[in-house]
Point group: D2
Chain length 383, copies 4
């Protein structure tokens, strides 16, 4: 068994808990779970979601069943077993500031970061998590870079420079130190596995932090297309990639600072894979409500081939962002348990490289996803 805690009960969590139950019941195949057909030591059926935290007043205290029914209506069957998972109150620290969400959070009850940390340690003593998955809405946060700076921020209660993600990650490390090793998985575009401070912190508590920014959407495909061109020594003249969606994540990205974080995690692939910084415009671009969770991506690029001839490529996709990420999280939870059992600590590039858009640690390169997959299999000793 592997116990998992979810942070942020948005669309990804909805798909994760519903999809997981449907797979367990045998109602659907485990499509979208990358390693579903591989023996990695922990099966999908062993995953147990023990708690989920949010700050939306319309979610806290409700069951995962009720929330999912409300979102999916009759389009996706919601298993009744989800009535047992009730959403707990999380920490806010202004993580959804600027969004049209009414919040309730433990910020109302606790004054210091330290107290908040203790609150979650007590929570998790009850739930005994092996893996904690951060799926909050995109936040804007600075990195601490050194463990000392990070600890000082807690000690001095610098709440204004602390994001909810960072607080959760810190609390999880403290829990690991006092109780049991955990794996903290960060699938949103804030820098945790890319912040040396957090990597040191997890190393010091014999635990693992994975991240950052789950590799869904069009960027992983773009990475593999760029690798395809690079391996033929085709010279890419420019790359354009537009994204537009209608979920909360795209709404958040209309707030400039959040957009900036996302752009950083998306653009690094170009130079890393091609070996030169081909001119590119790769951005989260817009919000349009009726697109819902199924975003539209348009990719266009030109390259020079042998004898100076020029080719053009156009890619249009409509993709469901949240379920795609949820499928990845299923594997990340399984892998979390695996790496804890094997005694790893710090962060693990071979896992991050495949599953993340901005794989930590900070100085790691983006590589194509197909190559990352090969390396992942090697790391796991498969094939």
């Amino acid at each position: 068994m592997v116990n998992a805690v979810l942070l942020g009960h948005g669309m990804v969590a909805n798909h994760l808990v519903v999809g997981l139950e449907r797979i367990k019941k045998g109602d659907i195949p485990p499509y979208g779970v990358p390693l579903a057909k591989r023996e990695i030591g922990v099966s999908i059926e062993e995953i147990n979601i023990v708690a989920s935290y949010d700050v939306d007043v319309n979610k806290v205290g409700k069951s995962a069943y009720e929330i999912a029914r409300n979102v999916f209506k009759d389009t996706i069957p919601v298993p009744e077993t989800l009535k047992d998972l009730v959403i707990s109150k999380g920490v806010h620290l202004k993580s959804v500031e600027g969004m049209p969400i009414k919040t309730t959070s433990i910020d109302e009850e606790y004054d210091t970061l330290r107290d908040m940390v203790e609150y979650f340690i007590d929570e998790w003593r009850k739930h005994k998590p092996d893996v904690i998955v951060n799926m909050l809405t995109t936040e804007y946060g600075k990195t601490f870079d050194t463990l000392d700076a990070l600890k000082a921020a807690i000690d001095n209660n610098e709440a204004s420079s602390f994001t909810a993600s960072q607080l959760y990650a810190y609390a999880a490390a403290e829990y690991a130190k006092r109780v049991n090793p955990v794996v903290f998985v960060n699938v949103i575009p804030v820098f945790l596995a890319n912040d040396p401070a957090f990597v040191s912190l997890y190393e010091s508590v014999n635990s693992v932090i994975l991240g950052d920014d789950g590799a869904t959407g069009a960027t992983p495909l773009t990475a593999d297309i760029l690798e395809h061109l690079a391996e033929r020594n085709r010279y890419v003249k420019f790359i354009v990639q537009f994204n537009i969606g209608g979920n909360l994540d795209f709404l958040a990205l209309t707030i400039p600072e959040k957009n900036k974080m996302k752009e950083l995690t998306k653009s690094s692939i170009v130079e890393d894979i091609l070996g030169y910084d081909a001119p590119h415009y790769i951005k989260p671009t817009g919000y349009l409500e009726p697109l819902g969770d199924k975003k539209f991506v348009s990719l266009h690029l030109e390259y020079v081939n042998f004898n100076g001839l020029k080719d053009e490529l156009y890619v249009n996709v409509r993709i469901n962002d949240s379920p795609s990420l949820a499928g990845m999280v299923v594997d990340l939870i399984r892998l979390g348990k695996v790496v804890i059992q094997k005694g790893y600590k710090g962060t693990l590039y071979p896992i991050n490289a495949f599953f993340m858009k901005k794989p930590g640690p900070i100085d790691a390169k983006s590589i194509s996803k197909i190559n990352a997959y090969s390396e992942l299999l090697s790391f796991l000793g498969i094939k």
Copy 2:
């Protein structure tokens, strides 16, 4: 130095000889040559095109310069050094039957397959080729399967069941036996490296045959996109891939038998990569003259992701087919020399898997191109 002989002086040959000279002169970078930046033991500058054969009455006896000038007009500069390469008369055996081409060939002078074989052996005694590249227009031919059947066909002068490609490949092996080992590279969709008869033949003369069907066009990209989906366990519901072009190759494909050969080499990727035979319509589809050498490909597919959600992908490309293949041939010539020096014989899957659409030997699987590239680098001892 590596001496190369070309069979079929069409658009691929035009781009090959012109592009090669321009790279040698330093006028253009070696874009489109996959391994250009890798040290493989033979440099691009060492390539020496010593002869080129064709049966088009408008080409035989003319210089590569004259032909290229006529085709490229002022769009691509043609180096004057190409005046020294004069196109020789080749064998026909009905290889361009049904096409709007007036031919002249050695068929007019020789009655038996055996005599034709001897003719080319004499030719090549003069030119001393290391590598012979088959770039004829797509032909329809049966495989011989056993070396005995192949030899019997020559002995019994079964001209009607012999294609020009097969005759050239047989002659090259005979030349190898009597004079020097060669590498025969087949980049068109006839089965040579996929015919056990020819693989045995080359093994028996300590030489190598590579093929079949150079991996250009949209199919290699489709292969990598399918691998991308397979690695995420996304279930592909269907694949549509249309192709239309305006060059001689597409004109040839309007002849049903030639079209069939092409379809065979294109479709095998689906089951090999996905692991199941997703319904697909992947065909060379049409000919439309004004598209010229820059074909249009439209790819559309749907897949099921986590929790049963469905995504859609649309890819449109305009790509120059001939220069793309010419860039690959540059590397195949270099690699030909390398593998001769190392004493390989038969056929070499690690090279075929990356460079060919239907990699020989016959029972070999198609794999994604990005994975094939990794394996190629290992085979070559690079990285």
Copy 3:
């Protein structure tokens, strides 16, 4: 009230009867019915489907409710009122030969064309149709050109040169002569409104025949895009349009003769609209079952703009063919009643030009659909 008879109870009929009932019940808005918001004299609510004919042994004798339920499953609600419409046995004349359909038809009971005609006249005496809509699967048929030739074929019982569509159209005209004027609407790609013989026939019985080939799919959009370019004097260098679908219509098009009929009705737009025959490849291309009724169309064209500059256009669509045609049929039924009341006879180009791909009469030009719409409104005295 307007009484309508349907010929061919396939997907178009399914959508027509279901959509019509849902609109009448106020469950859905009349989207896809071009003139829904216009006062034309007959409302959608007045349409009464009095009979429907087919030769599929799995449909004859079943109710429209049962058939629609079987096809739509739970994706579209099927009103119970459709239990009253039971599918009648039609004429075959090999119209679905070559298709995977087991048939039952009046061909088994009647020996001569004349007898079959009388059979339908008797049928329709019961149903009192105002409008008869031909929605059979695409057939291949020759035109008769003169009324005498047509009549002679009936008199001489030339069953082998008669299609089911032609027999129905002939029977409807006879019914009109003896009982009441009717409008025969042909929305499939056989030539009826484009056959002078049938136009004369309908004129002689004070009735109207409309056709041919309902203007759905991508071709009407292509027509408007070409008009857009023509009005800017942009010179179209080529046009590629691929189509692939998974319904019975696309399966039928894998039979070469049927495909040919379709190509004829699609390609005429190019020269008619542009004023020159731009090179084009516009064909029904392929069948792939999982696409179902939602076909995929890929359009690509290039044109020369001012100062010799070249632009490129790529259009990809996924469109539901059958409901789109069903929406048009709703208006054609209403318009049928309108033109009968006004005493029109023969065929009516202003209606055909907007609603049909190959608008009759035979010498009529295709015009852009937006212009056809303007002319339609004028013809109807609207605006």
Copy 4:
């Protein structure tokens, strides 16, 4: 003969003067000139570009030949006759502020708006323009709404609230009053024909002002596609349109105020044509230098068809913006002469509706371009 003055010697002017000369010399056909094949009373050959104004220090004093050669290099032949057209110094009023351009302008010599107006009147006394075409880079300006407010701004020398476009338009009206009627054609996204103040001004001097924002790019095509859907009563769920280019216009649009003007002129088509405000994201989106003047546009929309079925449309285009607009300007110059001769005054919706994105006057609706073309022909008495 028709004498034309150009304001702003950018890419549009380059294509206009070069394309015009090439057409006059018979070197190229008049592709991209909408009414080229129509007899409208003034031929393309009669157009005489008498002066062109700019504020770029690298253009003022240079010949149109020199500038065009520098831009087009060897890609487009530049006629030597253009050596006679020397670019004059224009007014700045901060119109290119924020752009990487070093300027020289009459602002350095004149202190008041009134003096600047007089300067241009004197200029044009020499050149005797019939038509003055505003092709400056996009500016951000407020409308004056009443003629009194406009005149007061000049009298009070309110230079900070005056754009270069407005000053030119005012000067042209003054010239018209004192010397000869003119037509002022505004093809950039500032409001002139949409400012009642300027329409009144031109009415008062028996002259015509046409505008605003020349209808090139993808928006006119989008308009016709929307009309196509509206005429079938298909319900558009959403529209996404991305634009990215590499010319000065797109660089200007990275300045938020300029972007805003553009968005206003683009979005009005949705509600005007569909009759409801379908959710849309239609924006000038980004700048990427290597795209140059050939922008990339991606359009995606979904609509509901009959019986509730949903279709999807994807359009990708690469289009040369400047020559497209230049071709329109050729006709606008011809039409300018025509309407002066006929004694029109104020603004002319039938011309604006076809040629402009935001057709004046202010309360005018956008209509589809194909319908606008029909109305234009009627207005001109053609067909």
